[in-house]
Structure formats: structure tokens, C-alpha cells
Amino acid sequence: MFEKVLIANRGEIALRIHRACRDMGIKTVAAHSTADANAMNVRLADESVCIGPPPARASYLNIPSILSAATITGADAIHPGIGFLSENADFADMVVEHGFTFIGPTPEHIRMMGDKVRAKAAARELGIPTVPGSPNALADAGTAIESARGIGYPVLLKAAAGGGGRGMKLAHNEADLRMLLPLAQAEAQAAFGDSSVYMERFLDRPRHIEVQLLGDGQGTVVHLGERDCSLQRHHQKILEETPSPGLDPAARERVAQIAVRAMERLGYQSAGTIEFLYQGGEFFFIEMNTRLQVEHTISEAISGIDLVREQLRIAAGEPLGYRQSDIQLRGHAIECRINAENPDDFRPSPGRVSEYHAPGGPGIRVDSGLYQGYEVPPFYDSLVAKLIASGGDRDECLMRLRRAMEEYVIGGIETTIPLHQRLLDNADFRGGDYDIGWLERFLGRNDG
């Protein structure tokens, strides 16, 4: 096992990784920007190195600084965390070239899944269903109607040359299609100087379902169930839960098997997540995240498995040492992302935390670097705390979450706690009746 791990990240996830290291007796090095010198993860780290000024490109994306920090502190591995360099295959290559272990999958797998087109092709090869579509450029109505038969209505006509909605037309049946194809082609021509148009199955109310995976690259792949991350604003997840209230046991098992089989074929090594759109009983590949995810905590809650610990063990060459049948998924867990933002207009609210008191008691976990007197810097994303509740069933979990929100005190800055409290009182949410568009409809804003 590693003796010393450099954590090339910040905020709650850097603290999360620090904790996993400490829980394994591994020393930590916090690589931080000048803006994060007083961050909790830096204070708790065994060692710390300032790697640059506040802008991420000069610090948390500054590869030479990070590698030098690992060199001068004698770290033997680097954990990239989430975001920043975590899905940068070149960084992963350089980490290895410089004689450190990269805590994550192989650069090849990062590269493969990092490119949307390659990833979609890879997914198909690995037996993961993707949104059905036509080859580019539908010659004429005949071809269009024929491929639409294969794809299934409703279909969305899209300009091959561009995006942004221009040239897009939604066809519910053949009649629509006959009528709309020429219009779409004309619009595409006008907008992009290219009239070619292709089509895809249109999903109007999908859920975002993702499967948490662990592979040891030694033949064993397991899943820790799915997560429902449909509550999004501007494509940012706000609240995640597991299991999904929108899946029946058969669908749950099906998507897990699709994901596990695919990773077995790929020989995937480390923690990873495959994201799907789910509608009408069908799952369609969105993308694969070849890293830890913010919402990994809820899978930990129901499985009792520490995902960061597993990343470290796998990176150190250890086999998983257990199989799917050894994993019990128990109860229900929900994570609320608490951002330093105005809960109504979502304006960021950095500044000094004048009071801080975290909730406690049964079934409550808090992952946060906040403390009384801490200054939330304005340079980075606004996630400042994750409140995770678990319980025997969804109702117990929701009640604990609501109670913990009442106890949570974060003074001096605005946070999205009030938004979460509104969500927890909402009948649709309590009923599990929501899709990817629901939150923005709830917020009365469709600019997302």
C-alpha cells in the first residue's frame, strides 16, 4: 500500500480523499492554491504544498507544479479527485512517467471515454445501448421514413453541421416527418450552409440513472447499485438518491448487468460510473465517468463500501477480494449538495462563515470543509457541503434529511439549504415522481 498520497484537488472532495487515506494509515500531501491555504483539507493534511495562485489553470490544472510537489514531498501516488485533472489522460500518463501511481483507471480508458464520439462507439461495442439514430444525411423522405421505422417515434431531426437547436424538428409520425424534413433541411442550409439532416429517437421525459462500478483490472467487476440523479439545474446535479424510485427490480438488475458486463469486457480498473437516460423501460448510454463522483457517498451508504479506499487499493494492485454476491445493498440514501449560492437566483455567495454547526445523530453524514471563520473563496465551484442521509427505507431517509436540514447552521454566506427544504416538502419529489426536466420546471425556469 502507498505510504504517502498527494491529493491534487480542493474542497470537500480533497477532504474526503484525505479521510480515506487517514483511515488506511496513509500520509497525505495537500497540493493547494494560495486561495486554499486555510482550507480544512490543507490543515488536516500531514504535509501541504502551495502549487500556485488562485486561478485553477495556474494551480489545480498546473501539471508541472503538481508533479514537482509530489517530487519534493516524496509522495508515491497522486489522487486527482473530481474535475480538474481527474479525466485528463495526458496527466495520467505524465504521473506514471514521473514514477508515481495515478489513482484512477488506465490513461487508455480515460482517453476512450473522454471523447464523446469514441465513447459512444465503444459503448456500442461493449453492448451498451445508445440512443438510436440515423447515419448522417437523410437523402429524402423515403430514407427518413425507413430509418424512423427502425428508430421509433418520436424522432428528432438535427442538422448534421451544427447544434443550438437550429434545424431541429420533432416528428411524432410519418406525416410529421414528411412535412418537417424539408423544413429542417432548409433551416440547416440557411444556418450552416449545409442542408444535411440526421435523426435520433427523442426522449421527452427521461430520468438520469447511473451505475456505480468497481473493477480491479484482474477480472473482477462489481456494481454498487444505481443512482438517480435526475434532479438537475443547468445540467448540474442538485440531489441524488439510491435506489432510484423510478426503477422496478427487473430494470434495476438489467441496467446493472449491462454496466458490469461492459466493464468486464473492457477490463476496467478503478471506480467508474456509466450514466444512462431511462425512459419507457429502456436505458440509453450518455457517457462514462472514469473517476470518482460527487454522489459516490450514497452508494457507500447502502453498500457499506468505502469507494475511495477501493480506488486506493486497486491502484496499489490489490484485487477487490469480493464478488457481487458478497455485496449487500441495504436501505435508502440521499445526498443533498449544499452550494454557497442564493437559493432563489443561484448567485454565488462566497465569504466568511460566521457560524457553523453540522447536524448529527443516526443516519446522517456530512462531508464539508466548512468551519466557523473559514472564508469561502470566490474562485471555484460553489459546492461547500454534502449532507447525506440514509435509512431503512426512503421515507425514513427523507425524514432524517428534513430533520438534519433543520439542525444545519451555516451563517455568513447564503446556501441552497432552503431550496432543499422546499424539495423535501414537495409532493412530486416525495412521491419519487420526477425526471430530468422536473427541477427546472419546479424552479419555474426553462432557460436550462
Binding site: T34, A37, N38, M40, V42, R43, L44, A45, D46, E47, S48, V49, C50, I51, G52, P53, S59, P64, S65, L67, S68, A69, T71, I72, T73, H98, Y371, Q372, G373, Y374
Partner: protein
């Protein structure tokens, strides 16, 4: 920057530093280094004045830590680069790496305290990723202090030298 900081308890003892400085005189050595467990103290006549500013060499960096990691709620934290070196003439490390004061081990350093410095003159090297980065004087002046020892690690913002 902290090295094995959390385990360390050494608050640099001015008297210790003074007595080591006296030993330097008496023995005409150029450097004395002692360590005990996690604690390390190093005084060197050549680059580090045996004066309170020695408290800024990494050898006593634990002090910065002691201040940098107070329990949450208190506000004693010191930011690297803000450790009492905000004099306009202070040259700070623009990157993370190993500082070298001389071109080769054993050779004379690029500059010594007391030297008159020309703008653009090479003052030291910081090695990062096996690249030797020359650190040049941003302005002309007199080199009045050197804050880092030869072959010592520096982080972004570490005070290197004072040019007045």
C-alpha cells in the same frame, strides 16, 4: 509548505539558533545541521543569516505550520508567501521545485549577501520536473538576505531573497 509538519513540535528556539551561530564563528564552519526525530534545525553562515529570519527556512517551517493549522474557529493561520516577507524587494518562488544557489554542488553560489545585483542577473535555479529554471533578478539592487538554503524545496510563493 509543511514537511511532516503535523508530527513536529519544534518551535524554533532563538537561543538555539544563536548558540549554533556562535559555534559557526568558533569553528569557522559554514553550516551546522542537527535533527532529532521530526525536528530539524540548520544554520549556515553562507546563505542563511543566523538571525530570526532563519525562522523562514523550511528547517523551521513547522512554526508556519503551527500557525497554519490552528483548530478551526481560530484565525491564526498564516498564508504561505505572507509570512512576514511582504517587503517589495522580496523575490518569491514563481514555481514549485528544488532551489539551487550554485550551478554545481560545491561551486560558489550565483550570488552572496552583500552583492550588487543587476536586473536580469541569474540569482538561483529552481529545478522542476528535471528542468533547471533560472531565477533572474526582477530589478537591480543590493542582495541583503537569502531566505532559502541550497537544494531546499520551495513552494509557490516561498520568499527566496531580499534585494534592496
Amino acid at each position: 509548505m509543511r514537511f511532516r509538519g503535523r508530527r513536529a513540535t519544534l518551535a524554533p528556539d532563538p537561543d538555539l539558533i544563536r548558540s549554533l551561530a556562535k559555534l559557526l564563528d568558533e569553528t569557522r564552519l559554514t553550516e551546522i545541521e542537527c535533527s532529532a526525530g521530526d525536528q530539524r534545525i540548520r544554520v549556515s553562515r553562507q546563505v542563511v543569516a543566523a538571525s530570526p529570519v532563519a525562522a523562514n527556512s523550511p528547517s523551521s517551517g513547522e512554526k508556519t505550520l503551527a500557525a497554519a493549522a490552528p483548530p478551526p474557529g481560530s484565525n491564526g493561520a498564516a498564508r504561505p508567501g505572507a509570512n512576514g516577507h511582504d517587503h517589495p524587494g522580496v523575490l518569491k518562488a514563481p514555481l514549485v521545485g528544488i532551489a539551487y544557489l550554485a550551478a554545481e554542488p560545491g561551486q560558489a553560489p550565483y550570488v552572496k549577501v552583500g552583492d550588487t545585483i543587476a536586473e536580469g542577473q541569474t540569482l538561483m535555479i529552481i529545478e522542476a520536473m528535471k528542468v533547471m529554471n533560472q531565477i533572474r533578478a526582477p530589478r537591480a539592487g543590493k542582495l541583503s538576505q537569502v531566505f532559502v538554503g541550497d537544494a531546499e524545496p520551495v513552494e509557490y510563493g516561498t520568499a527566496l531573497m531580499l534585494i534592496e
